[in-house]
């Protein structure tokens, strides 16, 4: 673990490497990019290899949903407020599930992690330096995956299992467009750009999310095997 730490000194220090026994693997990317599918397959494989695996999902808690609903009624939600409410949810998930699992030596598959929060908040106009500081309590993943998908493809895949795009998913509160689909496109395009800017400085592993599922899985297994054999 310490050898690995030394190889990363030149990358930005907003998330610091961890010294827990386990490994943290994060998946980021637009909605519908196949993160959950790939993680389900990875979990199966890792368990067969004898690892204890914990999958976490970044979803809004009831607590935060209430506040978001109130904000929706008010019609405007301060981007920083929106951002920090989500950070509360993340902190709870991080301290209650992710850290204990890492301490136990598990492989943690985080379906959306800090970079997703960051991309969304930047797309909402929050200042990067501020929000990076907010999330600086979190550990840097051993491997961060970026599932690359176009906005059009994301929209198509999202609509195949949702009747309509959701309010905040489309960034409707930002006033980009009155039409939810158009708003979705504009907002997700911003998120995509934010992700693109993170790939190099944060060393996200770019994965073409339009490749066949099996092929993606093979790429992921190879990358993860490297991480795990680094012990």
């Amino acid at each position: 673990m310490s050898a690995e730490t030394n190889t990363q000194v030149d990358s930005p220090a907003f998330l610091l490497p961890h010294a827990f026994a386990g490994k943290l693997i994060a998946a980021e990317g637009l909605d519908g990019s196949g993160k959950s599918t790939q993680f389900r397959l990875l979990k199966f494989w890792l368990q067969a290899e004898g690892y204890e695996v914990v999958t976490t999902e970044l979803i809004s808690s009831k607590l935060i949903k209430r506040a978001l609903k109130t904000g929706k009624k008010q019609g405007s939600m301060d981007p920083m407020l929106f951002s920090i409410l989500h950070a509360v949810d993340f902190a709870e998930l991080y301290e209650r599930e992710i850290v204990p699992a890492l301490k136990r030596g598990s492989v943690v598959l985080a379906d959306r992690y800090v970079y997703t929060a960051l991309a969304r908040d930047l797309a909402r106009g929050v200042e990067q330096d501020w929000i990076q500081n907010v999330y600086s309590f979190a550990a840097r993943p051993n491997l961060s995956l970026y599932f690359e998908l176009s906005v059009d493809e994301s929209l198509e895949r999202t609509m195949s299992h949702q009747e309509r795009v959701k309010y905040y998913q489309a960034g409707m509160d930002l006033g980009l467009s009155r039409d939810p689909t158009a708003s979705f496109r504009a907002f997700q395009q911003r998120i995509l750009q934010a992700y693109e800017r993170m790939i190099d400085p944060y060393r996200l592993l770019r994965l073409d999310a339009t490749l066949p599922i099996k092929q993606q899985q093979q790429i992921l297994r190879d990358a993860i095997a490297d991480i795990l054999s680094g012990e």
Binding site: L63, I64, R66, A67, T70, G71, D78, M80, L81, I84, L85, A87, V88, A91, E92, E95, R96, W130, N133, V134, S136, F137
Partner: protein, 266 residues
């Protein structure tokens, strides 16, 4: 519910604005008399025909609801609490503090970000990290720190719970007496009033749970920590320190003199 009504009391019928909009903050550890003093200042400034808005810690409707729920469910981690308080502050900054200052008013804040700094660092969070959360706050024109020792806070806490206990007993006696009288055909309106009074006494008791043994010790330890954080902040943030361990009207007189000077400054 009463808290919601109190969260920003505004006196719109009044005519005078200060020379410049002013944000005036009162800080101090628990039971330092902060809230009492803010209320007295509000009454005084309103009587002077100033436009005044008050804002209390944790009073944003968005967050007070979340916090109330959070307290009944699994307790949140210090990190999450810290961010929820920051969320409350961001919401009030946007919806109460900035608009009032833009209207040219005096804003009286019962606690401000220094409370967060003291509390979060007392709970082990990194001070620089907490400061970042509050980076976009409005800089106050004056911060009055009501200084009492942690020992004094404990003393006041104990005497308060003693007093509340007394009130509850009195309430019980009264209601027993009332029950007797109601059989003799006492007026329903009076009965209702006394019932309300009893309810009130019970509510405060629940709020001020009697502390004994370990709980009292942990209250004391926390106040000691808070106290030491405030002491360290005094110079760094230029607090005006006012001795809180003197009669209420004396503290109030000191505050008024200082605020009057501030309001007359161009």
């Amino acid at each position: 519910m009463a808290r919601d009504e109190e969260q920003s009391s505004k006196h719109t019928m009044l005519k005078i604005y200060p020379e410049r909009p002013r944000l005036i903050v009162l800080e101090g550890i628990d039971l330092s008399g902060r809230t009492t003093q803010v209320q007295l200042l509000l009454d005084w400034l309103a009587a002077q025909h100033y436009h005044v808005t008050t804002t209390a810690w944790r009073s944003s409707p968005l967050i007070s609801d979340v916090l109330a729920r959070a307290r009944t469910a699994t307790p949140l981690r210090p990190l999450s609490y810290s961010m929820l308080y920051a969320a409350d502050h961001i919401d009030r900054t946007q919806h109460v503090i900035r608009p009032a200052l833009e209207r040219g008013e005096i804003v009286l804040a019962d606690r401000y970000l220094y409370t967060a700094l003291a509390r979060d660092t007392a709970r082990g969070l990194d001070a620089a990290w907490v400061q970042n959360l509050y980076r976009y706050s409005v800089q106050p024109d004056a911060v009055f720190y009501l200084h009492i020792s942690p020992e004094e806070a404990v003393k006041r806490r104990l005497s308060l719970q003693q007093q509340r206990l007394g009130e509850l007993h009195a309430g019980k006696l009264k209601s027993a007496k009332m029950a007797k009288e109601s059989k003799n055909g006492k007026e329903p309106e009076q009965r209702k009033q006394e019932k309300e009074a009893k309810k009130g006494a019970q509510a405060t008791i629940i709020q001020t749970t009697a502390l004994t043994g370990e709980a009292l010790e942990s209250f004391r330890n926390f106040e000691v920590k808070m106290y030491s954080e405030y002491q360290q902040m005094q110079k760094a943030y230029g607090f005006t320190v006012i001795e809180g361990n003197q009669p209420i009207d004396q503290v109030q007189a000191t505050l008024r003199r200082a605020i009057m000077r501030l309001l007359l400054e161009m």
